[in-house]
Symmetry: C2
Subunit: 272 residues, 2 copies
């Protein structure tokens, strides 16, 4: 069975649009985009589109590739103090001459809509409510919820330990009482561990997990997104093979991607 | 083979004492102890003793059981601003009428020697240097280091997901390239998962892990500490049985306990 992220995302965005209509003060998203990375431009434009769809404000601040750290942090301080802005998002990756942490640390935790600041990450890890949940992991849980999949007690195996997906995903699953394993490039016996997964989440960006490793009747989430030799967008996994083996699987595109956008909009509406 | 925490701790404390002799400004630990919990009094006194042993200052602020939150946070603000104090430790547990998070959140992250503030926890989770590492997990890694045990690529299974041991332990092992699984009271198939552990860490406070679940030749760390029916201090595991099966094991007492004290003193010396 396919976990349809596109349909679920649209359903959630429609619900949010209804909610926004009832709000006296509409939330507003500020996005900072540095440089001209084509992928980043596409991501930013889909965030703008979603904001427009649900009826909230958005502003994109485009800065040239050569922008220095001080200009960026000054811009963030300005947005921190701007009462009309409810969420601040710095589109990653930033140019190499910029220390990413210095920039994201400057965001006020109460406007840190991507959950990038240590304070929000720490609150998440301590099982407390962060001001915002990390968007991709939250989007994945929203998708599981839509299909009535309960993770409690299940063994979730995450492949990939990035700060954006792997690590916060582990924490959010643990907060929901899953047993959680995090694997990565240094993992020995990856095959044996994946074979034990009730829920498998691949967030690597390349094909590490092969179909034959995956337990039948498991639930499979593909967070990967890259382009194959023909320029076609593909995930980490062999969807066509796995769809006949597993119980549930997300497609790429149309799985985790749209859920991430919907999750960002949920954060924007639920800002503290 | 026994991982001797008592001997290793003494060795580390002796090294720290040598280092302190060369320091112009000696560090100073401030401990806040609320109420009269006998176990807490023992813990605090061993921390004082260790501080004395390595030649650094320590001050214990004893407050009555009925102390309110404001008095406590005011005391912490005072210590935050006291330039002679390098580390602040609030002995847990606090009385029930006090919101623990409110108190530990008041500690300045640069004096948060137990790594309890969201900022330090978040930095740890992001793979950045926190100002202080969480003491029990750091103590366990120091013990593994002493015996030349490399965790890279190994499968570490942690039973227990507390904020003080289980969760930060998972993060520190992941930062050292172990594959990490966190189990807890809701875990299904605990036996099967423990059987796959190269390194097993039990931090539950009761006997959940049985000898027959444990893989031979594995490395076993017992963080549990409680009293049996005869008042004898015991760990989570059957040491006498396991010592003949596994490759390495920590005793209780004399394993993780003394390492936690040594680890706290390491933090005190390495304060930012």
């Amino acid at each position: 069975m396919i976990l349809d992220g596109k349909k679920t995302s649209e359903k959630i965005l429609n619900q949010l649009a209804e909610k926004v209509k009832t709000m006296d003060k509409k939330p507003k998203l500020a996005v900072i985009l540095v440089g001209n990375d084509p992928a980043s431009e596409i991501y930013v434009s889909s965030k703008e589109k979603a904001a427009k769809k649900i009826g909230v404000g958005s502003v994109v601040i485009k800065l040239p590739e050569e922008t220095d750290e001080k200009t960026l942090t000054d811009k963030i301080y300005e947005l921190n103090n701007d009462e009309t802005v409810t969420g601040i998002l710095v589109q990653l990756p930033l140019p190499k001459h910029i220390d990413k942490n210095k920039i994201t640390d400057a965001i006020c935790p109460k406007k840190d809509i991507d959950c990038f600041t240590p304070e929000n990450v720490g609150r998440l890890m301590q099982g407390r409510e962060p001001y915002f949940n990390p968007v991709t992991p939250q989007g994945i849980l929203m998708l599981l919820d839509e299909y009535g999949i309960d993770v409690k007690g299940k063994h979730a195996v995450i492949v990939g330990r990035s700060n954006i997906v792997g690590k916060p995903m582990a924490q959010m699953l643990l907060n929901r009482d899953a047993t959680v394993t995090v694997c990565h490039s240094k993992t020995e016996n990856l095959d044996d561990i994946i074979k034990t997964a009730d829920i498998l989440i691949s967030a690597v960006g390349k094909k590490v997990v092969r179909c034959k490793m995956v337990k039948s009747e498991s639930i499979v989430i593909d967070v990967g997104i890259s382009r194959d030799n023909n320029g076609k967008i593909v995930g980490d996994l062999d969807f066509d093979e796995l769809v006949n083996v597993v119980k549930y699987i997300t497609p790429v595109p149309g799985g985790v991607g749209p859920m991430t956008i919907a999750s960002l909009m949920v954060n924007l509406i639920n800002h503290p």
